[in-house]
Protein backbone atom coordinates (compact mmCIF):
# COMPACT_ATOMS: atom_id res chain seq x y z
CA UNK A 1 0.00 0.00 0.00
CA UNK A 2 1.62 3.18 -1.13
CA UNK A 3 1.65 6.07 1.34
CA UNK A 4 -0.17 8.21 -1.21
CA UNK A 5 -3.36 6.29 -0.48
CA UNK A 6 -3.09 7.10 3.19
CA UNK A 7 -2.42 10.75 2.42
CA UNK A 8 -5.44 10.88 0.11
CA UNK A 9 -7.59 9.32 2.82
CA UNK A 10 -6.34 11.87 5.31
CA UNK A 11 -7.25 14.66 2.87
CA UNK A 12 -10.78 13.28 2.57
CA UNK A 13 -11.18 13.02 6.33
CA UNK A 14 -9.78 16.51 6.83
CA UNK A 15 -12.20 18.03 4.33
CA UNK A 16 -15.14 16.22 5.93
CA UNK A 17 -14.06 17.57 9.31
CA UNK A 18 -13.80 21.09 7.87
CA UNK A 19 -17.30 20.84 6.43
CA UNK A 20 -18.55 19.72 9.82
CA UNK A 21 -16.97 22.73 11.50
CA UNK A 22 -18.58 25.02 8.94
CA UNK A 23 -22.03 23.46 8.91
CA UNK A 24 -22.81 22.12 12.36
CA UNK A 25 -23.94 24.46 15.10
CA UNK A 26 -23.81 22.31 18.20
CA UNK A 27 -20.51 23.30 19.79
CA UNK A 28 -19.72 19.74 20.92
CA UNK A 29 -20.15 18.45 17.41
CA UNK A 30 -17.92 21.24 16.13
CA UNK A 31 -15.28 20.10 18.61
CA UNK A 32 -15.59 16.53 17.44
CA UNK A 33 -15.12 17.65 13.85
CA UNK A 34 -11.95 19.47 14.90
CA UNK A 35 -10.78 16.21 16.45
CA UNK A 36 -11.49 14.51 13.16
CA UNK A 37 -9.31 17.04 11.36
CA UNK A 38 -6.48 16.52 13.85
CA UNK A 39 -6.77 12.77 13.39
CA UNK A 40 -6.55 13.19 9.63
CA UNK A 41 -3.36 15.22 10.11
CA UNK A 42 -1.95 12.46 12.29
CA UNK A 43 -2.65 9.91 9.60
CA UNK A 44 -0.75 12.02 7.08
CA UNK A 45 2.14 12.40 9.53
CA UNK A 46 2.36 8.66 10.07
CA UNK A 47 2.18 8.03 6.33
CA UNK A 48 4.99 10.50 5.68
CA UNK A 49 7.06 8.94 8.45
CA UNK A 50 6.79 5.64 6.67
CA UNK A 51 7.48 7.29 3.32
CA UNK A 52 10.75 8.76 4.53
CA UNK A 53 11.69 5.85 6.70
CA UNK A 54 12.35 7.84 9.87
CA UNK A 55 10.35 8.31 13.01
CA UNK A 56 10.09 12.11 13.11
CA UNK A 57 6.58 12.05 11.67
CA UNK A 58 5.43 9.70 14.38
CA UNK A 59 6.90 11.95 17.07
CA UNK A 60 5.06 14.93 15.60
CA UNK A 61 1.84 12.91 15.51
CA UNK A 62 2.39 12.10 19.16
CA UNK A 63 2.75 15.80 19.97
CA UNK A 64 -0.40 16.54 17.99
CA UNK A 65 -2.26 14.04 20.14
CA UNK A 66 -1.03 15.72 23.32
CA UNK A 67 -1.99 19.18 22.09
CA UNK A 68 -5.39 17.86 20.98
CA UNK A 69 -6.02 16.43 24.42
CA UNK A 70 -5.16 19.76 26.04
CA UNK A 71 -7.35 21.61 23.56
CA UNK A 72 -10.29 19.32 24.25
CA UNK A 73 -9.99 19.81 28.00
CA UNK A 74 -9.97 23.60 27.78
CA UNK A 75 -12.57 23.72 25.02
CA UNK A 76 -15.03 21.54 26.86
CA UNK A 77 -14.54 23.59 30.02
CA UNK A 78 -15.37 26.75 28.05
CA UNK A 79 -18.38 24.95 26.63
CA UNK A 80 -19.55 24.06 30.12
CA UNK A 81 -19.18 27.67 31.24
CA UNK A 82 -21.15 28.91 28.23
CA UNK A 83 -23.82 26.30 28.76
CA UNK A 84 -24.13 27.26 32.40
CA UNK A 85 -24.60 30.90 31.50
CA UNK A 86 -26.85 30.53 28.47
CA UNK A 87 -28.45 27.07 28.80
CA UNK A 88 -27.50 26.31 25.23
CA UNK A 89 -24.64 24.60 23.43
CA UNK A 90 -25.35 26.19 20.08
CA UNK A 91 -22.61 28.36 18.62
CA UNK A 92 -25.26 30.79 17.39
CA UNK A 93 -26.29 31.69 20.91
CA UNK A 94 -22.79 32.47 22.13
CA UNK A 95 -22.47 35.75 20.27
CA UNK A 96 -21.03 37.73 23.14
CA UNK A 97 -17.70 37.09 24.76
CA UNK A 98 -19.27 37.95 28.09
CA UNK A 99 -22.45 36.70 29.63
Amino acid sequence: MSPVHYVALSVILFVIGAVGVLVRRNAIVVFMCIELMLNACNLAFVAFARLHGNLDGQVIAFFVMVVAAAEVVVGLAILMAIYRARRSASVDDANLLKW
Binding site: A18, I28, V46
Partner: protein, 286 residues
Protein backbone atom coordinates in the same frame (compact mmCIF):
# COMPACT_ATOMS: atom_id res chain seq x y z
CA UNK B 1 15.36 -12.53 12.41
CA UNK B 2 14.14 -15.11 9.98
CA UNK B 3 10.62 -13.74 10.25
CA UNK B 4 11.90 -10.22 9.74
CA UNK B 5 13.76 -11.23 6.64
CA UNK B 6 10.76 -13.01 5.19
CA UNK B 7 8.23 -10.25 5.77
CA UNK B 8 8.73 -7.27 3.47
CA UNK B 9 7.63 -4.85 6.18
CA UNK B 10 8.60 -5.65 9.72
CA UNK B 11 5.96 -4.69 12.20
CA UNK B 12 3.21 -5.48 9.74
CA UNK B 13 3.10 -9.22 9.59
CA UNK B 14 0.42 -9.36 6.94
CA UNK B 15 1.12 -9.94 3.29
CA UNK B 16 0.46 -7.35 0.62
CA UNK B 17 -2.99 -8.57 -0.47
CA UNK B 18 -4.31 -8.74 3.06
CA UNK B 19 -2.92 -5.29 3.81
CA UNK B 20 -4.56 -3.79 0.75
CA UNK B 21 -7.88 -5.42 1.51
CA UNK B 22 -7.71 -4.21 5.08
CA UNK B 23 -6.83 -0.70 3.94
CA UNK B 24 -9.81 -0.44 1.63
CA UNK B 25 -12.21 -1.83 4.20
CA UNK B 26 -10.93 0.57 6.84
CA UNK B 27 -10.85 3.53 4.45
CA UNK B 28 -14.44 3.05 3.37
CA UNK B 29 -15.50 2.54 6.97
CA UNK B 30 -13.67 5.65 8.15
CA UNK B 31 -15.03 7.89 5.40
CA UNK B 32 -18.56 6.58 5.90
CA UNK B 33 -18.35 7.16 9.64
CA UNK B 34 -16.91 10.64 9.11
CA UNK B 35 -19.74 11.49 6.73
CA UNK B 36 -22.24 10.15 9.21
CA UNK B 37 -20.64 12.40 11.83
CA UNK B 38 -21.64 15.53 10.00
CA UNK B 39 -25.04 14.15 8.96
CA UNK B 40 -26.51 12.75 12.18
CA UNK B 41 -28.33 15.25 14.30
CA UNK B 42 -27.67 14.06 17.82
CA UNK B 43 -24.33 14.68 19.48
CA UNK B 44 -24.16 11.20 21.03
CA UNK B 45 -24.43 9.49 17.66
CA UNK B 46 -21.76 11.85 16.39
CA UNK B 47 -19.46 10.73 19.21
CA UNK B 48 -20.05 7.08 18.37
CA UNK B 49 -19.19 7.73 14.72
CA UNK B 50 -16.03 9.53 15.83
CA UNK B 51 -15.08 6.44 17.83
CA UNK B 52 -15.41 4.33 14.68
CA UNK B 53 -13.15 6.71 12.76
CA UNK B 54 -10.57 6.71 15.55
CA UNK B 55 -10.48 2.92 15.77
CA UNK B 56 -10.05 2.67 12.00
CA UNK B 57 -7.19 5.13 12.15
CA UNK B 58 -5.59 3.23 15.03
CA UNK B 59 -5.59 0.08 12.92
CA UNK B 60 -4.05 2.02 10.06
CA UNK B 61 -1.29 3.30 12.34
CA UNK B 62 -0.54 -0.29 13.29
CA UNK B 63 -0.47 -1.27 9.62
CA UNK B 64 2.00 1.51 8.90
CA UNK B 65 4.56 0.49 11.45
CA UNK B 66 3.44 2.77 14.28
CA UNK B 67 2.29 0.34 16.99
CA UNK B 68 2.94 2.83 19.79
CA UNK B 69 0.77 5.49 18.17
CA UNK B 70 -1.91 2.90 17.51
CA UNK B 71 -2.15 2.10 21.19
CA UNK B 72 -1.95 5.76 22.20
CA UNK B 73 -4.76 6.44 19.76
CA UNK B 74 -6.97 3.81 21.34
CA UNK B 75 -6.10 4.55 24.95
CA UNK B 76 -5.87 8.34 24.88
CA UNK B 77 -8.22 9.28 22.06
CA UNK B 78 -10.91 6.65 22.03
CA UNK B 79 -10.55 6.00 25.73
CA UNK B 80 -10.00 9.33 27.41
CA UNK B 81 -10.85 12.15 25.01
CA UNK B 82 -14.01 10.57 23.68
CA UNK B 83 -15.16 9.71 27.20
CA UNK B 84 -14.65 13.36 28.10
CA UNK B 85 -16.85 14.29 25.17
CA UNK B 86 -19.49 11.85 26.34
CA UNK B 87 -19.36 13.23 29.88
CA UNK B 88 -19.97 16.74 28.60
CA UNK B 89 -22.78 15.50 26.37
CA UNK B 90 -24.37 13.90 29.43
CA UNK B 91 -23.99 17.15 31.40
CA UNK B 92 -25.38 19.33 28.66
CA UNK B 93 -28.21 17.00 27.84
CA UNK B 94 -28.23 13.77 25.90
CA UNK B 95 -31.11 14.96 23.76
CA UNK B 96 -29.29 18.05 22.50
CA UNK B 97 -29.73 17.99 18.76
CA UNK B 98 -29.04 20.53 16.07
CA UNK B 99 -31.96 22.22 14.48
CA UNK B 100 -32.06 21.68 10.75
CA UNK B 101 -32.95 25.27 9.99
CA UNK B 102 -30.21 27.30 8.37
CA UNK B 103 -29.60 30.49 10.30
CA UNK B 104 -27.26 31.96 7.70
CA UNK B 105 -28.73 31.85 4.23
CA UNK B 106 -26.83 29.64 1.82
CA UNK B 107 -24.43 28.48 4.52
CA UNK B 108 -24.51 24.82 3.55
CA UNK B 109 -24.14 25.52 -0.14
CA UNK B 110 -21.21 27.82 0.45
CA UNK B 111 -19.64 25.34 2.86
CA UNK B 112 -19.97 22.59 0.26
CA UNK B 113 -18.40 24.80 -2.42
CA UNK B 114 -15.55 25.75 -0.11
CA UNK B 115 -15.02 22.12 0.78
CA UNK B 116 -14.88 21.07 -2.85
CA UNK B 117 -12.40 23.83 -3.64
CA UNK B 118 -10.28 22.94 -0.64
CA UNK B 119 -10.36 19.26 -1.58
CA UNK B 120 -9.30 19.99 -5.15
CA UNK B 121 -6.42 22.17 -3.97
CA UNK B 122 -5.17 19.52 -1.55
CA UNK B 123 -5.48 16.69 -4.06
CA UNK B 124 -3.66 18.76 -6.68
CA UNK B 125 -0.93 19.44 -4.15
CA UNK B 126 -0.55 15.75 -3.44
CA UNK B 127 -0.61 14.95 -7.13
CA UNK B 128 2.24 17.38 -7.75
CA UNK B 129 4.25 16.13 -4.80
CA UNK B 130 5.21 12.87 -6.56
CA UNK B 131 4.96 10.68 -3.50
CA UNK B 132 6.97 7.59 -4.22
CA UNK B 133 6.81 4.18 -2.65
CA UNK B 134 7.63 3.80 1.00
CA UNK B 135 11.24 3.63 2.06
CA UNK B 136 12.72 0.31 3.08
CA UNK B 137 11.37 -0.11 6.56
CA UNK B 138 13.84 -0.56 9.33
CA UNK B 139 13.45 -2.15 12.73
CA UNK B 140 12.24 1.25 13.96
CA UNK B 141 8.91 0.48 12.31
CA UNK B 142 8.60 -2.84 14.02
CA UNK B 143 9.97 -4.17 17.28
CA UNK B 144 12.19 -1.15 17.82
CA UNK B 145 9.42 1.40 17.44
CA UNK B 146 9.16 2.30 21.09
CA UNK B 147 12.93 2.59 21.53
CA UNK B 148 13.28 4.74 18.46
CA UNK B 149 10.44 7.04 19.48
CA UNK B 150 11.71 7.49 23.01
CA UNK B 151 15.24 8.17 21.75
CA UNK B 152 13.90 10.87 19.45
CA UNK B 153 11.62 12.41 22.08
CA UNK B 154 14.33 12.63 24.71
CA UNK B 155 17.12 13.83 22.40
CA UNK B 156 16.00 15.82 19.37
CA UNK B 157 12.57 16.77 20.61
CA UNK B 158 13.32 17.22 24.28
CA UNK B 159 12.49 20.92 24.27
CA UNK B 160 9.08 20.49 22.59
CA UNK B 161 8.47 17.67 25.03
CA UNK B 162 9.09 19.97 27.99
CA UNK B 163 6.88 22.64 26.45
CA UNK B 164 4.17 20.01 26.03
CA UNK B 165 4.36 19.29 29.73
CA UNK B 166 3.91 22.98 30.50
CA UNK B 167 0.98 23.06 28.07
CA UNK B 168 -0.72 20.15 29.79
CA UNK B 169 -0.36 21.73 33.22
CA UNK B 170 -1.70 25.02 31.88
CA UNK B 171 -4.63 23.22 30.28
CA UNK B 172 -5.45 21.41 33.51
CA UNK B 173 -5.36 24.65 35.51
CA UNK B 174 -7.34 26.46 32.83
CA UNK B 175 -10.01 23.77 32.78
CA UNK B 176 -10.34 23.97 36.55
CA UNK B 177 -10.63 27.76 36.45
CA UNK B 178 -13.17 27.70 33.62
CA UNK B 179 -15.31 24.93 34.98
CA UNK B 180 -15.26 26.34 38.49
CA UNK B 181 -18.46 28.03 39.53
CA UNK B 182 -18.18 30.88 41.96
CA UNK B 183 -20.64 30.43 44.78
CA UNK B 184 -22.59 33.67 44.96
CA UNK B 185 -25.00 32.59 47.67
CA UNK B 186 -24.09 30.71 50.85
CA UNK B 187 -24.45 26.98 50.70
CA UNK B 188 -27.96 25.97 51.81
CA UNK B 189 -27.94 24.15 55.10
CA UNK B 190 -30.19 21.26 56.00
CA UNK B 191 -32.53 23.68 57.78
CA UNK B 192 -32.76 25.85 54.66
CA UNK B 193 -33.57 22.83 52.55
CA UNK B 194 -36.29 21.72 54.97
CA UNK B 195 -37.82 25.20 54.98
CA UNK B 196 -37.72 25.36 51.21
CA UNK B 197 -39.45 22.03 50.98
CA UNK B 198 -42.17 23.10 53.40
CA UNK B 199 -42.75 26.33 51.52
CA UNK B 200 -42.97 24.55 48.19
CA UNK B 201 -45.95 22.55 49.44
CA UNK B 202 -44.43 19.35 48.07
CA UNK B 203 -43.17 17.51 51.13
CA UNK B 204 -42.77 13.98 49.87
CA UNK B 205 -40.28 12.99 47.18
CA UNK B 206 -41.47 12.55 43.64
CA UNK B 207 -43.53 9.40 43.04
CA UNK B 208 -41.77 6.27 41.91
CA UNK B 209 -42.41 4.96 38.40
CA UNK B 210 -45.29 2.62 37.91
CA UNK B 211 -45.12 -1.07 38.68
CA UNK B 212 -47.52 -3.13 36.62
CA UNK B 213 -48.23 -6.76 36.21
CA UNK B 214 -46.59 -6.90 32.80
CA UNK B 215 -44.14 -3.98 32.94
CA UNK B 216 -41.84 -2.71 35.64
CA UNK B 217 -39.51 -0.14 34.12
CA UNK B 218 -38.36 3.40 34.87
CA UNK B 219 -40.12 4.79 31.81
CA UNK B 220 -43.60 3.65 32.85
CA UNK B 221 -45.43 6.47 34.60
CA UNK B 222 -47.25 5.80 37.84
CA UNK B 223 -51.02 5.81 37.94
CA UNK B 224 -52.77 8.46 39.95
CA UNK B 225 -55.90 7.61 41.93
CA UNK B 226 -58.14 9.04 39.23
CA UNK B 227 -56.64 6.74 36.60
CA UNK B 228 -54.45 9.30 34.85
CA UNK B 229 -50.67 9.01 34.78
CA UNK B 230 -48.24 11.12 36.77
CA UNK B 231 -45.60 13.00 34.79
CA UNK B 232 -43.48 13.53 37.89
CA UNK B 233 -42.86 9.81 38.24
CA UNK B 234 -40.69 9.54 35.14
CA UNK B 235 -37.32 11.21 34.73
CA UNK B 236 -37.26 13.95 32.14
CA UNK B 237 -34.28 12.25 30.48
CA UNK B 238 -36.52 9.34 29.50
CA UNK B 239 -39.36 9.40 27.06
CA UNK B 240 -42.52 8.41 28.81
CA UNK B 241 -43.94 5.11 27.69
CA UNK B 242 -47.64 4.90 27.02
CA UNK B 243 -49.47 2.99 29.69
CA UNK B 244 -51.91 0.83 27.83
CA UNK B 245 -52.91 -2.73 28.48
CA UNK B 246 -51.71 -2.89 32.04
CA UNK B 247 -54.05 -0.12 32.98
CA UNK B 248 -57.01 -2.34 33.70
CA UNK B 249 -57.64 -2.89 37.36
CA UNK B 250 -58.28 -6.19 38.98
CA UNK B 251 -59.90 -5.67 42.32
CA UNK B 252 -59.78 -8.34 44.96
CA UNK B 253 -63.55 -8.52 45.15
CA UNK B 254 -63.89 -8.61 41.41
CA UNK B 255 -64.95 -11.96 40.13
CA UNK B 256 -63.02 -12.90 37.06
CA UNK B 257 -64.47 -15.62 34.98
CA UNK B 258 -62.19 -17.54 32.68
CA UNK B 259 -63.98 -18.71 29.64
CA UNK B 260 -63.46 -22.35 28.93
CA UNK B 261 -63.18 -22.02 25.15
CA UNK B 262 -60.62 -19.26 24.66
CA UNK B 263 -58.90 -19.21 28.02
CA UNK B 264 -59.32 -15.45 28.25
CA UNK B 265 -60.31 -13.61 31.33
CA UNK B 266 -63.78 -12.19 31.15
CA UNK B 267 -64.34 -9.40 33.67
CA UNK B 268 -67.68 -9.44 35.34
CA UNK B 269 -69.87 -6.83 33.67
CA UNK B 270 -71.70 -5.89 36.83
CA UNK B 271 -68.74 -4.04 38.33
CA UNK B 272 -68.07 -0.63 36.81
CA UNK B 273 -64.49 0.07 35.71
CA UNK B 274 -62.37 2.74 37.33
CA UNK B 275 -63.03 6.32 36.31
CA UNK B 276 -60.87 6.78 33.26
CA UNK B 277 -61.67 10.02 31.50
CA UNK B 278 -58.48 10.29 29.39
CA UNK B 279 -58.43 6.82 28.01
CA UNK B 280 -59.46 6.48 24.37
CA UNK B 281 -62.61 4.59 23.71
CA UNK B 282 -60.83 1.69 22.08
CA UNK B 283 -58.91 0.84 25.20
CA UNK B 284 -61.90 0.36 27.43
CA UNK B 285 -62.90 -2.95 25.94
CA UNK B 286 -59.44 -4.51 25.86
Amino acid sequence: MHVLAAAPHPGTNTDVIARETLFWILAVLAVAAALAMILVRRAVHCAMMLAVVMLCLATMYAMQGAPFLAFVQIIVYTGAVLMLFLFVIMLIGISSADSVVETIRGQRLNAALAAIGFFVILILGIGHAAIGPAARPTAAFGPGNLTGLSTLIFTTYVFPFEVTGALLITAAVGAMVLAHRERTAPKPTQRDLATRRLVSGHLAPDPAPGVYALHDAADRPALLPDGSTSDASVSTALSQREVGEERQFVRPEETVAISAETGERVPAPSLPGPPDPESPAGRADS
